[in-house]
């Protein structure tokens, strides 16, 4: 029977950690209890994007968007909304029109400025059902290329679209396919890079969790275009939901004869295997990834030869990022011109960003290239929490740089970001406010790359370590002004001499904060002061005796008994005991504690 209502429960990693599995089973129980199970369809989907408001439940046909749903709320949704048609108002994610009526979800600030090309099926289909993928024109793009296009025709279409790699480098996808196509060999491979190692990034994971077949279909198209019969998806084992959904999707595709020999009876063979990575950042670098896929140590290889010439098992290999593949079926079905109509002159289409840090709407957003940072932060992201001021945004993760507040009107595309000393990266976008110390941020990213360096080449292994120590001395107030200049020189040395992209980009966060926030570094060095009050060695907590009313709250909050004083008398902090945790700040009714 046709179900009159569809209940979609988000099964992305964010909402799953918010208990959406239990919400799903509670729906099952309650629907059964009310005898509704045959009229209502219950589906677990991929990510809706608005992770900050999770767990999310959407009810169709009305398209009612419920946020922060708890297991206890399910019964009310079933009895009120599903049975009686009365939406549960207190759970609605709603914005009102001027006349007081509810805005449609696509009109709300978070979704209005987005354009969902790659994420088109996420939060709409059940990722564990190949039939639902088929309903949205699934595997039609593959059918089209095999029945109507030559391999070169496919490559020309991708070139014409202007699609560039979404994994960080931004290299022309069509050109890459051409190189792999032109390499002569009886065996070739198609590889999908799903390592996604940037801290704070979850674009690729969400796409794999929400629409795994889209990636599989794109790899099949790539296989046809370059002449490969075997594909590998390299995905980190730390993404268990993505791995599981990929396994299910590959199994279903094989069952339908969509993967395997003589696909759909059209005479083309292609199959895909998964390779699980152990979660090393360097294994996202393409040559290290190839080594790891072969079962070797995850260390980069010298380039050239490029993978398109000599890649996996020494055979010509095409390697693209998950999101890059996510665009392919849409380019084939809607045409290169449609794709190229979105974006800026040299950056076409859309880009998915994982929005995190000091921002109200943390989550996953997909925007047309050329959208300004201001639109992302102020409109889509809903601004900075607690009325704080925007200070900078970090793009490109540990390989990227920061965009300071004065450049908030920068249009986001590959070339503009490079021009201001950052980079697109894979799509992490971390927002910082006035409480973030930029030296500390640079140190955080560098600590990550030092940790993740594979150690094969000296500039990266030792250079970054020394750079980290210098940064550390800045945060402790023991660095000199000459050290700042030395740091900068070392940055350029590491960039120019490292073997792979990890080392070549590791100093970027240091360089870009030095460029835009040099005064903050100088303040640490000259005045031994951390303006944001983050660097522990440079802050000290004191109680202003003129303001303190002796309420004893700070004394009770202090975990190390560093505060003394009689009731109704000014209190004092013993600096030798103080661990600078800031617990005393919280709760002081008179703002008497200064740092």
């Amino acid at each position: 029977m046709l179900e009159r209502a569809h209940i979609l429960v988000c099964g992305g990693t964010g909402c799953t950690s918010g208990n959406s599995n239990k919400i799903y089973s509670e729906f099952q129980t309650r629907l059964k209890e009310q005898g509704l199970e045959s009229e209502v369809k219950l589906i677990m989907t991929g990510c809706f994007g608005l992770c900050a408001r999770g767990p999310i439940v959407v009810v169709y046909p009305e398209g009612t968007f419920y946020q922060h749903v708890k297991v206890e709320d399910v019964n009310e949704i079933v009895c009120e909304h599903i049975l009686k048609g009365r939406p549960v108002e207190r759970l609605l994610h709603s914005e009102k029109e001027e006349d007081g009526s509810l805005k449609a979800i696509n009109e709300t600030a978070f979704y209005k400025r987005q354009k969902r090309v790659v994420l088109r099926n996420c939060g709409i289909i059940n990722p564990e059902s190949i039939d639902e993928y088929l309903a949205y024109d699934g595997y039609k793009a593959y059918e089209k290329v095999v029945t109507q296009m030559t391999p070169q025709g496919v490559i020309d279409e991708i070139k014409k679209s202007g699609l560039r790699g979404r994994g960080g480098g931004g290299f022309s996808t069509g050109m890459k396919w051409q190189f792999a196509h032109d390499s002569v060999s009886d065996i070739k491979y198609v590889v999908c890079n799903a390592d996604e190692g940037d801290p704070g990034a979850f674009m690729d994971r969400s796409l794999l969790e929400g629409d795994p077949h889209a990636v599989i279909e794109a790899m099949m198209i790539a296989g046809y275009a370059i002449g490969a019969k075997q594909g590998y998806i390299y995905v980190r084992a730390e993404y268990p939901i993505a791995v599981q959904r990929l396994e299910i999707a590959i199994g279903q595709a094989r069952e339908y004869g969509i993967l395997g020999k003589n696909i759909m009876g059209l005479g083309h063979d292609f199959d895909i295997e998964l390779r699980l990575g152990a979660g090393a950042f360097v294994c996202g670098e393409e040559t290290a990834l190839l080594n790891s896929t072969e079962g070797k140590r995850g260390e980069p290889r010298q380039r050239p030869p490029f993978p398109a010439v000599k890649g996996l098992f020494e055979k010509p290999t095409l390697i693209n990022n998950v999101e890059t593949y996510g665009n392919i079926t849409q380019i084939i079905l809607n045409g290169a011109d449609w794709f190229a109509s979105m974006g800026t002159e040299k950056s076409k289409g859309t880009k998915v960003f994982a929005l995190g840090g000091k921002i109200n709407n943390t989550g996953l957003v997909e925007i047309p290239m050329g959208t300004t940072l201001r639109t992302i932060i102020e409109e889509i992201g809903g601004g900075i929490p607690n009325g704080k001021k925007f200070k900078a945004a970090q793009t490109g993760g540990p390989s990227g740089g920061c965009i300071p507040a004065e450049l908030i009107d920068t249009k986001i595309d590959y070339d503009n970001l490079i021009a201001i000393g950052s980079m697109m990266g894979s799509g992490g976008l971390i927002v910082m406010d006035e409480d973030n110390c930029m030296v500390d941020i640079a140190k955080f990213f560098l600590e990550f790359t030092v940790d993740e360096s594979c150690g094969k080449c000296t500039p990266c292994r030792i250079g970054n370590k020394r750079l980290y120590e210098m940064l550390d001395s800045v945060t402790k107030g023991t660095a000199t002004m000459e050290d700042l200049d030395k740091m900068e020189q070392l940055c350029y040395y590491i960039k120019e001499n490292s073997l792979c992209g990890l080392g070549q980009t590791a100093p970027n966060p240091v360089l870009s904060t030095l460029k835009y926030f040099r005064d903050e570094y100088v303040e640490h060095v000259k005045n031994k002061r951390c303006p944001a009050g983050v660097c522990k060695a440079l802050v000290s907590f004191k109680i202003d005796p003129a303001l303190c009313i002796g309420c004893t709250k700070c004394k009770r909050n202090c975990p190390v008994n560093a505060i003394s004083g009689e009731i109704k008398q000014p209190h004092v902090i013993d600096a030798s005991k103080c661990i600078k945790c800031g617990a005393c700040l919280q709760g002081c009714p008179k703002n008497a504690i200064v740092r």
């Binding site: 029977m1 709409i124 039939d131 699934g138 059918e143 004869g257």
Partner: protein, 123 residues
């Protein structure tokens, strides 16, 4: 192995099953009053009959939803039919049989079944 035709058949079948998951301004909406008063008066079988009819006739542009009490309890079960571009038509005292006729006549062919409306009943 599935052939191209078999895959297309799955697409078509799934498309109609999943039609309710998009919201399109051109859709026809059928709204059934499902508050306590509606349910007591027999709105559930009416709703089921409508859904069945929509499925049998493969009406992918029709959305069936419910609403709460609109204050005319003695006229329940109430069913609204909203065709894009025209005024809402409210049917009263609807039964599963009446519902089927409303779909055949009004939803499919655009002819309002006047005798089932408030004014029609009075006349």
């Amino acid at each position: 192995m599935k052939t191209l035709a078999e895959l297309q058949a799955i697409r078509d079948r799934m498309k109609s099953q999943m039609a309710s998951r998009g919201t399109d301004a051109d859709d026809i909406r059928i709204v059934v009053g499902m508050a306590t008063c509606g349910i007591a008066a027999g709105a559930r079988p009416v709703l089921n009959a409508i859904v069945e009819e929509v499925e049998n006739r493969k009406l992918t542009n029709v959305k069936v939803t419910q609403t709460g009490c609109i204050g005319m309890c003695k006229l329940e079960p109430l069913v609204d039919v909203i065709m894009p571009g025209s005024e809402k038509v409210t049917y009263v005292h609807v039964t599963p049989e009446k519902a089927r006729r409303i779909i055949a006549s009004h939803v499919v062919n655009g002819n309002v079944v006047t005798e089932y409306t408030v004014d029609g009943e009075k006349a």
